[in-house]
């Protein structure tokens, strides 16, 4: 858990985008049926406990508010390191995710634990600033010690059909990141169609993103299993092209264990066990973790739990 990520995805050429993007045909009805059929898997007993433990290790605890303070970050990091102080068998979460100005504080709090510090940059969540500002924002986060950078794609350019601009911006930000882990947020709620999600995934992957991420969490429409399915197919097709295994982060709207387990089933059956690792799959969710901890305790003790048994994050 929380292993150092050695390899990053090198940026490929724009021509690779063109090659892959032609093959973006998706039938939404068929896709929905497949996703729904995966959701009928019945995960019980040991396999459920395994899943819940995996989910904890894949969680990115997040606070992205104007009201974030040092105190808030301290609370969250403490919870990230020891999600359930009474059950030490439970691992720490994968990372904490904060704004650039709070990276150095978070970095100090995680100290030598396995928990990574991720920063949202490039003027998250809208990204509506000049490129120079996005680069500065990102550089600042990296200089402050961020292990991972979450950027947003240029939806304005994307929706205007200027895919090349979207690509070039990610390539430029990737250059700033160097070997710092780059997660690219597609904001699927803005893209709406599966074909757009597919195209944005391909652009992001070819441009060198180590992860593609569904959402900022700032929109009413966050992640969906359907969007995740489109993204995972893109990741697999990109692997077939480049040999690189990229990761996926789902964020926004994943509130309970049942839903999270359905994501894991999908990852397991469509991608295989390689992706059942925080190195390649993450959940960005703040309220999910408490429900997972409750479920773990329920499985271990047989009793349903109340939220006040678990510390605030």
């Amino acid at each position: 858990m929380g292993k150092v990520i050695n390899t990053t995805n090198p940026s490929l050429q724009w021509s690779d985008v063109l090659e892959m993007i032609n093959d973006s045909r998706i039938d939404s009805v068929g896709l929905n049926e497949r996703v729904n059929s995966l959701s009928t898997r019945s995960i019980k007993k040991d396999s459920k406990l395994d899943a819940l433990n995996m989910i904890v290790s894949m969680c990115d605890l997040t606070t992205l508010e104007g009201e974030d303070t040092e105190g808030k970050i301290s609370q969250m990091v403490a919870k990230a390191i020891k999600p359930d102080p009474l059950d030490t068998s439970i691992s720490s979460v994968a990372a904490v995710c904060v704004y650039p100005s709070l990276v150095s504080i978070a970095k100090e709090k995680v100290s030598n634990s396995n928990v990574k510090v991720a920063a949202v940059s490039s003027y998250f969540p809208s990204g509506q600033v000049p490129m120079e500002s996005k680069l500065l924002d990102t550089k600042y986060a990296i200089d402050s010690g961020a292990d991972e950078i979450d950027i947003v794609i240029n939806r304005k350019a994307f929706l205007e059909g200027d895919f090349r601009k979207v690509f070039d911006e990610i390539v430029a930000l990737k250059e700033v990141c160097n070997d710092v882990h780059l997660k690219t947020i597609l904001e699927v709620g803005d893209l709406k169609t599966y074909e757009n999600i597919r195209k944005a995934s391909i652009i992001s992957l070819v441009a060198g993103s180590d992860f593609i991420k569904t959402s900022t969490g700032k929109l009413a429409i966050g992640s969906s299993r359907q969007a995740c399915y489109v993204m995972l197919k893109s990741v697999l097709d990109y692997e077939a092209l480049s040999g690189v295994k990229a990761g996926i982060k789902v964020a926004g709207g994943i509130r309970d264990s049942k839903d999270a387990i359905r994501y894991l089933v999908m990852i397991n059956e469509e991608m295989g066990s390689d992706w059942l690792s925080p190195n390649l799959f993450r959940f960005g969710a703040s309220s999910l973790l408490d429900d997972v901890l409750k479920q773990i305790k329920k499985l271990k003790t047989g009793a349903y739990q109340a939220s006040y048994y678990f510390p605030r994050g």
Binding site: D27, S28, V29, G30
Partner: protein, 275 residues
């Protein structure tokens, strides 16, 4: 030595052809003699080959054009009405009955002409399936139809054994015994019409000679018997037909929409509705 008034040939593939067997039979009408082809097994095979070709052409003709070709046929019969009436009277029909038969024939052709571009709307429909799918059932013509016409002397009855299947785009091998002089005269109008060659082949002879070949021929998709056969005949046709799951209809309905249903295969197509 008998005096032959007229020699008829089978009408196959848009041409008048003798039976390859060279066999004929004669029919006496009002002291005049008609020499008619006695269709052989080989003739049936040739007719099926022609009908397969005719099916391709006729079934891909647009309904609008099929309608016009049928309507023009009615105009031609109307133009030749006197000669048909005369021929029927030669067979012993009264002038009144003969006139009525031709009038009904014309009316029926016009009725089916108007059906040519409507039956798909009457026999097909959208199906309201429960999921996000577009689902429609529509019809294809069944293919090559062998139609045995009835024993009465009548152009109208002959037509009612042909029009329902022809209208929906099938090609038809029409076979007459008693009514063959009328049928082969009718072939002349077909020859002058715009029906593609092979879409309607008209033959005469003794059905019992070819019963086995017709019912066993896998490329005949449907056998329509507009004539009551003895039980042994029907049984052996249906037994032979079972070897290729061939459709057999004995005295099918010629009423309204029911008349065309036997000649249609329902095809249901599904497609998702999504973005």
């Amino acid at each position: 030595m008998i005096d032959i008034k007229k020699t008829y040939k089978n009408y196959v593939g848009g041409k008048y052809v003798r039976s390859e067997s060279g066999k004929t039979y004669t029919k006496e009408l009002k002291n005049e003699f008609y020499e008619l082809p006695l269709t052989s097994k080989k003739d049936i095979r040739d007719a099926v080959t022609s009908s397969k070709d005719g099916y391709k052409k006729w079934s891909s003709t647009t309904p609008y054009l099929r309608m016009q070709i049928l309507y023009r046929l009615s105009e031609m019969i109307e133009g030749n009405k006197e000669s048909y009436v005369e021929l029927l009277m030669d067979h012993g029909l009264t002038k009144q009955k003969a006139n009525k038969d031709i009038d009904e024939s014309i009316q029926n052709i016009v009725w089916f002409a108007g059906l040519a571009d409507k039956w798909e709307q009457l026999a097909g429909n959208l199906n309201p399936v429960s999921e996000e799918y577009f689902n429609i059932s529509h019809q294809n013509p069944i293919g090559v139809v062998f139609s045995l016409s009835g024993s009465n002397i009548s152009l109208n009855e002959l037509l009612m054994s042909i029009l329902p299947s022809l209208t929906v785009g099938c090609s038809v091998i029409s076979y007459s015994e008693e009514n063959s002089v009328v049928a082969l005269k009718f072939a002349e109008d077909i020859n002058n019409s715009d029906f593609p060659s092979g879409s309607l082949n008209i033959l005469s002879g003794k059905f019992e000679n070819i019963l086995d070949d017709v019912s066993k021929h896998v490329e005949i998709n449907l056998v329509a018997l507009h004539k009551e056969l003895d039980n042994d005949g029907l049984k052996s046709i249906e037994e032979n037909a079972s070897e290729s799951v061939k459709r057999v209809f004995s005295q099918p309905s010629i009423e309204g929409l029911s008349s065309i249903l036997p000649y249609l295969e329902t095809k249901t197509v599904w497609h998702p509705k999504g973005t």
